[in-house]
Assembly symmetry: none
Homo-oligomer: 401 residues x 2
């Protein structure tokens, strides 16, 4: 039986609230084998107090040994099998700038490029045109008009931008137009099924109009289109769990990912303290809160062990304010590990803590990798975290009699 | 590869005996987070002695977060994926009174109801007619005769009873006849495929004859039929494991569930001591013994922490007698957790202990949730417990060369 059907059939509505605190990239590594991780080094009295009354385990973002990107990492946390629900590159790039694709949208990642008089590419990234300059050129492209299609053109960074076509009956199965070589012409967009042929026609028309608009530009005088994708067809939190869900995040990517599963993105917080303010202001209005803390991942990506330790302590500092709300179930986790030692996402499982009246206390007295590895929740695929959270909030009924 | 095909292909016959002691609902919760569970509170010197030489782990009855009913809980313990093999309501109700459905049987749950002179329902439960009274009326229905069909009518409790039709070629896909409303007529039974149409015809004839028989009754003057179901098609213990299996239980439900997988139900024990007597008397005749202890679950369902602790100690008391039989493999487990704190089945995993010459001793020195959570068997879906038991009894061969 499909996990989603099972959960949707057992979900019960009540007033028990769930807060999921996601410290991005929280899991780490000792700088030297045998040493302590960032989490084990940090002074985290508040998380450790929760570890004493809660239950810990290890969340496997995908499968053992597999390092997730932010997209699949969060899909898993949200309860969607990241190997079953694939977010296409275009839809992920759109999510990354906080643009939530609707069901009729096809999104693509575009690159400005430079072409010579013969139309052949001389620079695939338009000299890595600076972001501010690029954003101005992107605005010019909003002049493209195609009857029956709503078009969104949004800047990303340097030569990269996002284009979204919104119209009924479009397919996402269109080949990239980037020839991946200089000295070549941009390729014609080719659709691989009827709906995608329609998208390819629109893309061709977009390209032709865009080329005319860009003709006078010194560097960004042409474009290539890649990663055409519709958003994945995900059942919403309301459909799946019967939860009215809210997302509180600083960075656009996480707001975008949360909207893909039907969470409402609330507030405009700029710091973790402001995120908790937003949580307080909206606590009565939702059943479920996804609160995203970015900087544990950022400092990990920087390869800065000590700075990541400080960010863990920063995260620990807000725990008492969260607990004052007395959620029926608090989940503390991450979407993946980002060890400073690797300065990148890693495959290591993520220490995960559940606090609830229904948590079966284990032997752990600190929130960290070493203890989570032998905690009462065991090691589980991240897609089971939402069923566990629902159960600990007493929101899942019995299977069979 | 299908788990059952794999195991059936590897199963080897020898004289090594397996005893599975199931303390129903054994897993618990501390009354206050950070405290001790029932099992951790109980004085269990015999189980703890086994924990020192055996190996422990956590059995997940279904999947993380999912609370099982007794049906799916036991199917998992018996090695059948409870999400693949669904016991229909009628077949489960029959099992619940110890009636083992055969392959040609369709079982249904029936309710006595009260109808007015116009045939419309005035009370869907016939005034919750007392069990003894109801049982007498049930007997009257045994006068119903339908050519070519063997019919069983058995009382359950109050207004509820079970009817089983036995004949070749009957289907179980028949809609309920309970209109779920008063002031409505009982519905005609409708079959959704050829075989089920045949069942529906029989049900209609049964209903018509029954109505005449019941006409004079003050309260139970009509009936509705629900949850039509054939028994799930389960390979037997003999087919799957090459085990001649016996079930020893006090309560009809567990005898019924065991017969569904081809176990022979032996003895008429009324207490745990008598169950162990039956085990002794029959020890030479079978390879596998399922011994069911009910009262850990019952006291959990009562919400009585201290009484459940006593029942755990009662269970512990018989361990030395069981060990004197020197089984090749002893399994101690439960079909689910029933924390007194929740007064119901719960989703929490079940501490599970295996004692065998082949058990790889872990660090545990007590049988309890806290230690089982980091024991040598890890956390595993219950359907893997039988392969583990078979392996620990040296009854599973090598896969591949």
């Amino acid at each position: 039986m499909d996990l989603h059907k099972l959960i949707a059939g057992l979900a019960e509505k009540n007033n028990n609230k769930i807060i999921m605190l996601v410290a991005d990239g929280i899991g780490g590594l000792p700088m030297t084998p045998g040493g302590k991780t960032e989490l084990e080094t940090a002074n985290t009295p508040n998380l450790d107090a929760l570890a004493k009354i809660g239950v810990q385990g290890m969340s496997l973002p995908i499968l053992p040994g597999i390092t997730p990107g932010s997209g699949p990492g969060h899909l898993g946390l949200f309860g969607y099998d990241p190997l079953q629900f694939i977010i296409g590159r275009g839809a992920l790039e759109a999510a990354g700038i906080g643009f939530a694709c609707g069901p009729n949208d096809v999104a693509m990642r575009c690159n400005f490029c430079t072409v010579g008089q013969d139309g052949k590419i001389t620079d695939r990234r338009a000299g890595r045109i600076p972001t501010e300059e690029s954003a101005e050129v992107v605005k010019l492209l909003r002049a493209v008009k195609i009857p029956g299609v709503e078009i969104f053109v949004e800047p990303v960074k340097e030569h990269r931008f996002v284009v979204v076509f919104r119209a009924e009956g479009l397919g996402g199965n269109v080949a990239d137009t980037d020839p991946q070589a200089i000295g070549a012409l941009p390729l014609d967009p080719v659709g691989h099924d009827e709906a995608s042929k329609k998208t390819a026609e629109i893309a061709k028309e977009f390209f032709n109009q865009a080329k005319k608009i860009l003709a006078g530009q010194p560097k960004a005088n042409c474009l290539t289109m890649r990663g055409f994708a519709k958003r994945p067809s995900l059942p919403s939190y309301e459909e799946l769990y019967g939860l009215k869900a809210a997302a509180i995040a600083v960075y656009p990517m996480y707001k975008g990912l949360a909207s893909l599963v039907g969470m409402e993105v609330i507030g405009q917080p700029a710091t973790l303290d402001e995120e908790i303010d937003v949580l307080y202001e909206n606590y009565d209005k939702y059943d479920f809160f996804f609160v995203h803390f970015k900087y544990t991942d950022s400092r990990g990506e920087d390869g800065d062990f000590d700075a990541k330790v400080k960010m863990v302590e920063e995260f620990d500092r807000v725990i008492p304010r969260v607990m004052e709300l007395k959620p029926a179930c608090l989940v503390v986790t991450g979407d993946h590990s980002t060890p400073a030692k690797m300065a990148s996402h890693s495959f290591h499982p993520v220490p995960t803590l559940i606090v609830s009246e229904l948590a079966r206390t284990d032997a752990c007295d600190a929130y960290c990798e070493m203890q989570a590895g032998c905690g009462g929740l065991g090691h589980f695929e991240a897609k089971y975290l939402m069923p566990l959270a629902m159960a600990h909030a007493n929101r899942l009924g019995k299977f069979g009699a």
